[in-house]
């Protein structure tokens, strides 16, 4: 089934003679190639790979550390800014409260003043009105009294047919009216 002169493997002559032990013995060309290749990889790993990766990892570590420190600093700064803002806010609130309170007080005092002045004015007006009214009443009363006395005298003169002592009669009538007024009031 396997013709010997076939391309089963290109190296037929040598392969036919190969024994199992040949598999265990290194081929010299492969050994030399392997040694060269391995040595090159080893020197590359030794002289380049590890120094390079160490440098990379160190710089990365430094960068990460710096990043964390910056973040920490930013956090602290933000914290202090926040505190500042809160303090300012509290101050502003206090200020506002104070202003409102002052305004309220000012309003209060203005109101009180206005009310007081209005009271005063009202009282003055009332007083003046009262004074006017009482003056008028006195005037009316006096006029009325004169009128009544005159009329009474006229009536009395007509009754007695002679003129009476006008002045003393007048005083009499007045006294009578006063007594009436005293009773009435």
């Amino acid at each position: 089934m396997f013709a010997s002169a076939t391309p089963w493997l290109l190296a037929t002559e040598a392969a036919e003679e190969s024994e199992g032990i040949d598999l265990l013995l290194p081929e010299s060309s492969e050994l030399i190639a392997g040694i060269i290749a391995f040595a090159i990889i080893f020197f590359f790993a030794w002289k380049w790979v590890f120094p390079t990766i160490t440098k990379t990892l160190e710089s990365r570590q430094a960068a990460i550390k710096a990043g964390f420190e910056a973040a920490e600093a930013a956090k602290v700064e933000a914290e202090s800014l926040k505190n500042d803002y809160q303090a300012q806010l509290a101050q502003a609130r206090e200020e506002a409260g104070r202003i409102v309170e002052e305004a309220r007080q000012a309003g209060e005092s203005v109101r009180a003043e206005v009310v007081a002045r209005a009271d005063v004015e009202a009282a003055a007006i009332k007083e003046r009105a009262t004074a006017d009214m009482s003056g008028e009443r006195d005037r009316v009363a006096a006029s009325l009294r004169r009128e009544v006395a005159d009329l009474s005298l006229d009536v009395a003169e007509k009754v007695v047919g002679s003129s009476l002592d006008r002045a003393s009669q007048q005083a009499l009538v007045d006294r009578y009216i006063d007594e009436l007024g005293g009773l009435g009031s």
Partner: protein, 272 residues
């Protein structure tokens, strides 16, 4: 693979139930030199060894070249690979002084993992670690390192501690001493090499036979009709093994690196 598929005409699909070469060792020899420089045969395997080297150098170089603060996905993967070998294998196994061995362990890991993955790389389909040269060389270097470090760190007590272990009862001491001596100095390099080599040989053999048989049977459906169905289970099984071999390739690269570190560790701290 090409040469295997060429064999389709030589596989008697009407009689056989699997296509295999008379001598499976043929699957591992590329005797014809692509070219020869002063008696040095530049075979396909030699070419693949250098290809693996360039891939390793390329991965490391392009992964680490920029060294950005925020690495790309590729750079992050290569960085974590290098860091894994350094932190988890070198320092994790050997201890703080293991950092000295990290370049060696990284070279072993990268070279072997790429060499292993050639087994499942389309168009290459040949693990260079299934040839004894590379596993043997790496094992011998590891052996030289751990023996040298053992004597350097502990002087002659490295040897006497192994062949005359104080912690063992005196009656058994000589026996344990012989076992320790043989296992440390003779078996370790052999097992380290053979473990990698044999795994990759077996994997390559299975993949080649199963996938080639599957392909050959299915593609000769015109000649053999219903018998071509024989190829189907081979092909499906081969694909299953293919996935399994990816795991094996990574695992074996990890194991040879890990064991190299463990062997160095036992020389640095022989009491453990």
């Amino acid at each position: 693979m090409e040469s295997v598929i060429l064999a389709a005409s030589e596989c008697d699909v009407s009689e056989e139930i699997i296509c295999a070469p008379k001598d499976v060792l043929e699957l591992f020899f590329f005797e014809d030199a692509l070219f020869t420089i002063g008696g040095f045969n530049f075979t396909r395997t030699v070419f693949l060894i250098f290809l693996a080297m360039f891939i390793v150098l390329g991965l490391l170089y392009f992964g680490l070249r920029k060294g950005e603060k925020v690495p790309s996905k590729f750079a992050a993967a290569i960085e974590s690979l290098v860091t894994f070998v350094k932190e988890d294998i070198a320092i994790g196994i050997i201890g703080p002084e293991g950092v000295k061995y990290a370049p060696y362990l990284l070279a072993v890991f990268m070279f072997v993992i790429v060499g292993n993955l050639f087994e499942v790389t389309p168009l290459i389909n040949f693990p260079i670690t299934s040839r004894m040269a590379i596993p043997l060389f790496i094992s011998l270097v590891t052996w030289v390192i751990f023996v040298f470090v053992g004597f350097k760190k502990n002087g002659i007590s490295y040897l006497t501690g192994l062949i005359w272990p104080k912690s063992v009862p005196i009656a058994l001491r000589w026996l344990v001493g012989i076992i320790e001596f043989v296992s440390t100095f003779l078996l370790r390099p052999v097992t380290l090499a053979v473990r990698l080599f044999a795994n990759l040989v077996a994997g390559h053999l299975m993949l080649t036979l199963l996938l080639a048989s599957g392909w050959i049977f299915i593609s000769s459906v015109g000649d053999i009709g219903a018998r071509a169905i024989i190829g189907l289970p081979w092909f499906v099984f081969g694909l299953g093994i293919y996935l399994f071999e990816i795991v094996v390739a990574v695992l074996q690269a990890y194991i040879i690196t890990l064991l190299s570190a463990v062997y160095v560790q036992t020389s640095v701290h022989p009491e453990h």
